[in-house]
Symmetry: C2
DNA sequence: AAGTGGTCTAGACCACTTG
DNA sequence: AAGTGGTCTAGACCACTTT
């Protein structure tokens, strides 16, 4: 292949940012698959016509964002959105004693319908665009604790069906990643307390009016583009939403 | 002063980690004050007998942790825990439309008493150690929204009194930093929904039993040592707890 | 003009994994 | 032994701020 070196330092586009963009493009195009290895650093340096240090800086940032994973002596890999990463990066519910456990997920409903105005706004969709609307019940320690309502744009998930969703091997985000080439890289969450509605109360074994936690999560893909809108109703009698912001070391 | 070079690469202590430790020690000892400038990078490199690149790596991490602030052309400074930083790093309550506003704080009670077992556990104190117990009411848009209950070990804040606390110029954490040399660098938070108690309901204008958010925050200083335990009761009828985890760019 | 941090380079050497 | 990432160095050159 012809070597495609990067922009020539004209409008001050930082070299390592350009390298980062290219690496992201490789992931989005499928040129490197989830779990697959990147070229080694000296080859990347040759390909982009920069020094190894510049490649390392670009990779450093992608590693900090949990998008790439380095393994000394082995290589650098595209991070899979597997259970371990989901627990680490996205699942913030822990038992009172701090114990964290991967939830047992049961599909409650799967439907194709249209976005409400609020959903369209969150997902940056035009009008009442077609969406998939999915409800899950998540159990911890054998008891239903979380009632999830997922909304995703149908246009981003061509061919998605109930069976495919239900019979996925790993996490929901891993399905997005492996079957639709859509990588969730971050999320904005808004949390508040409210009285449980009738449906959530029934599904979680509560009385209507009991206090529950409501989490709105907007999951984002590259460039902070919204990809999934999710409302989670959590019974916090025995579990907490945890958020840690500690210096690295 | 006699140059004190760092460990001689014996037990594989990473050089940049050692530099980082020394810079933190300078902050804790008061050798560089909050808001004050560090030596320039080449002087730091000489002092620690390492290359500038190694100094930069240490400073990079401290900047990422919001402990230092770089200003190109001016220097590198110890970050002050002022309002802007408090809003950015610690205050996670926002109006439904996303608006963020620094709260108006009113002292409700100030007392010296002893730690409960749970508080002693959180703060890593022995037995029923002496603590200060402070209640604040925080108002947003002119209405009381948050009822804070702060617990701090008396031993860490010698000479703290009600007047000093009430008449502080800036944020609570800035008082800790400037008057007691204690820098808050991070926090662990646990959030859940519960029915409002009598006291919080009265102070926030709610009916007992209304759903409120309960936030337990353990604020940490260097080495993740606990420094403050705080319970915040939040009226989330018009405000949310927000948590964002987006890639840097 | 002088001083600061910011980017990028080229290369030495080390630590770890695999064949 | 060969190949990978990890640390550290020394220095060029640029961008920004202050005097």
């Amino acid at each position: 292949m012809t070597s495609s070196s990067l922009a020539g330092r004209s409008g001050i586009p930082l070299l390592y940012r350009e390298v980062k963009k290219q690496l992201i493009a490789d992931i989005q195009s499928g040129a490197v698959a989830p779990g697959g290895a990147l070229s080694n650093e000296s080859d990347l340096a040759k390909r982009f016509d920069v020094s190894i240090g510049t490649v390392r800086r670009a990779v450093d940032e992608l590693v900090a964002d949990n998008i790439l994973v380095r393994q000394q002596g082995r290589g650098t890999f595209v991070g899979r959105l597997d259970r371990a990463r989901f627990m680490f990066q996205f699942f913030k519910i822990a038992a009172r004693d701090g114990t964290r456990e991967f939830p047992q997920v049961r599909l409650h409903s799967f439907a194709r319908s249209r976005a409400t105005p609020a959903e369209a706004r969150a997902l940056a969709l035009q009008g009442a665009a077609p969406v998939f609307r999915i409800e899950n019940i998540l159990a911890l320690q054998g008891r239903p604790v979380i009632h999830d309502h997922i909304v995703i744009a149908a246009a981003l998930f061509p061919g998605l069906g109930k069976r495919m969703f239900e019979q996925r091997a790993g996490t929901v985000y891993e399905l997005y990643q492996s079957a639709f080439g859509l990588t969730i890289v971050g999320a904005d969450e808004r949390v508040r307390a409210q009285a449980a509605g009738e449906s959530s109360a029934r599904l979680l074994g509560l009385s209507p009016g009991d206090s529950v936690l409501r989490i709105e999560r907007l999951a984002l893909t590259f460039d902070n583009k919204p990809a999934e809108f999710r409302v989670s109703i959590v019974d916090t009698r025995e579990f907490d939403y945890v958020s840690s912001a500690q210096p690295t070391a």
